[in-house]
């Protein structure tokens, strides 16, 4: 049986059969205003709590943003960074923050349009961890590698394919965020094909519950699990620094 990487959110983990399966590549699609970065933070914090190695590649936020969120979840990100359990790759495209952020991480990507730059930096970050049993790679977000931010979706697709092969061979999981509303549907669809698991967080379309944030499992690499999940809808809420996810129409106590 393959190892799994949980989120630390009971109902979501149970639905996914314990979490994301070792060797898998997962896409988390979101839209403007949903708290997808909190779900990513849960995934990172859970990894650190379980003793996993975690690499976080940031293209849209400074490192401190995630450090603060991880701290809120009860994990000392600074200590995890000090012992090399948590490694940030800074690809946040601001000429002012790049120089500052290098003080916090050895790894920076200056050109997110360059596939080789991304790949090499990620490889160096993985090597810096030394021998690792369990690895979580989180990307916030892959949208910076896709049109309209870049000329072509090809580099992102190739990157995901490479990760697909590498994670299958070497283990570990990759969880990447994509802003669904920032790209044309066929581009999003093209990378959905490559991913093993596709999750989607979005606002409810019904007039009555427009503020509800819903989570769907659009694809999994386990056909039995997919059969179980394909028609399920989860409601996400964030209260008092806690992310709650439960199945729609299921009463939680």
């Amino acid at each position: 049986m393959k190892a799994v990487y949980s989120f630390g959110i009971t109902e979501l983990d149970e639905a996914l059969g314990g979490g994301l399966e070792d060797g898998s590549v997962t896409i988390l699609e979101d839209e403007m205003g949903v708290f997808s970065d909190i779900l990513l933070s849960y995934f990172i914090a859970r990894g650190l709590k379980r003793g996993d190695d975690v690499i976080v590649l940031l293209t849209e936020h400074p490192i401190q943003y995630y450090v603060n969120m991880i701290n809120i979840l009860g994990v000392r990100a600074d200590v995890a960074m000090e012992v090399g359990k948590l490694v940030f790759i800074d690809a946040f495209l601001s000429p002012f923050t790049v120089s500052r952020s290098i003080q916090r991480t050895k790894f920076a990507i200056r050109n997110v349009g360059s596939l080789s730059d991304i790949r090499q930096t990620l490889q160096s970050a993985i090597q810096s961890l030394g021998e690792t049993d369990r690895l979580r790679i989180v990307i916030d977000s892959l949208s910076q590698f896709l049109p309209p931010m870049t000329q072509s979706p090809q580099p992102a697709a190739i990157f995901l394919q490479q990760q697909h092969v590498e994670r299958n061979e070497r283990g570990g999981v990759l969880l990447a965020l994509v802003h669904r509303d920032g790209h044309s549907p066929h581009i999003v669809r093209s990378i959905e094909y490559i991913a093993d698991i596709v999750l989607r967080m979005c606002f409810s379309e019904s007039e009555k519950n427009r503020k509800d944030v819903l989570l769907y499992v659009l694809k999994t690499n386990d056909p039995l699990l997919f059969e179980k999940l394909q028609n399920k809808v989860f409601i996400c809420s964030y209260k008092q620094n806690r992310l709650l996810i439960h199945e729609k129409d299921k009463i939680i106590i």
Partner: protein, 306 residues
């Protein structure tokens, strides 16, 4: 006084244990950080052991209510979680009596910070002291990891091909290497104690010293484990002698002379016995306790129960 040591493998419910034995004990030692690297308390730094996330807190809180003092036992440089990342390396590994799987090189400064922050967390719990186990190098001829080679080579201006054989050839260099190695441990302890002192709470720290004929009793701890007891005694509130962890008990090996050096440091000395205990062995332990004036003998709870 015999003090039960509750290790991570004990499957006992804290309230049931203290309900049954609480009336007979004044003190208790509970593992807070296990050899696996996991904690038995809710930590924001290290992963907690599955199903034992609040094990330590439950023990210490109930014990406090019953006026029982709790000591937190921490496996310092034995950590299987970080072993791959920070492992201690021997170039010329001789047979060591116990597999050293899991020893961290004490020269890893990043690990000091990790350990220090963990001790700060533990010091914030209801405890009367911290017992640092495995605060040592694993054995002789350790450590020759990249950092250790680089640091000592630069300090002594040695050639790039510096290795253990060079130390064997030059006795003066070997002595300086031993001293340099022991300074790493003293510096690490200084760092930990300083970090804990920021809390403004005085938490006594007790360091484990191995007493075993294989490592030449107490006189051998400097060469085998890098512990300079005189230097360490300036920073700790006591030593706990781990009695014969590698060898079977030999009454003849225990004479007053063995303990002269540690007694002369004028620090409280305690005893720790981690193996199966027979009545005869317990008598020998009591004899040692008399010689070193040990007020406490820590014995694994499972041994006391059996």
């Amino acid at each position: 006084m015999v003090v039960p040591l509750i290790s991570e493998d004990v499957t006992v419910d804290p309230s049931a244990f203290l309900g049954e034995y609480g009336g007979y004990i004044d003190e208790l030692a509970v593992v807070a950080k296990a050899v696996s690297g996991e904690t038995l308390y809710q930590s924001s730094i290290a992963p907690s052991m599955l199903d034992k996330e609040n094990f330590f807190e439950r023990f210490s809180n109930i014990a406090k209510y019953l006026d029982i003092r709790t000591y937190a036992v921490v496996h310092a440089f034995l950590d299987k979680l970080f072993h791959r990342k920070f492992k201690s390396v021997s170039l010329n590994a001789e047979e060591i009596p116990v597999p050293e799987t899991g020893f961290i090189c004490p020269n890893k400064k990043g690990y000091w910070k990790y350990l220090a922050e963990m001790l700060v967390e533990i010091a914030g719990l209801q405890i009367s002291g911290i017992i640092l186990l495995d605060f040592r190098f694993p054995w002789r001829k350790y450590c020759f990891c990249t950092e250790c080679i680089r640091d000592f080579r630069m300090l002594e201006d040695l050639p790039v091909y510096f290795h253990y054989e060079l130390l064997e050839e030059r006795i003066d260099l070997y002595e300086r290497w031993l001293k340099w190695r022991s300074k790493i441990l003293s510096d690490a302890l200084k760092y930990l104690v300083n970090r804990m002192s920021c809390l403004g709470k005085n938490v006594p720290v007790i360091v484990e010293v191995i007493l075993d004929p294989l490592s030449e009793m107490i006189d051998g701890v400097f060469e085998y484990f890098g512990q300079d007891l005189e230097e360490l005694s300036k920073l700790v509130d006591g030593f706990v002698l781990n009695v014969f962890p590698f060898s079977t008990f030999d009454k003849d090996a225990i004479t007053d002379d063995v303990f002269t050096s540690i007694i002369s440091l004028n620090k409280p000395i305690y005893l720790l016995y981690t193996k199966n205990l027979t009545k005869d062995e317990f008598e020998i332990l009591k004899e040692i306790a008399k010689i070193v004036d040990a007020k406490k003998i820590f014995i694994k709870f499972t041994q006391i129960a059996s």
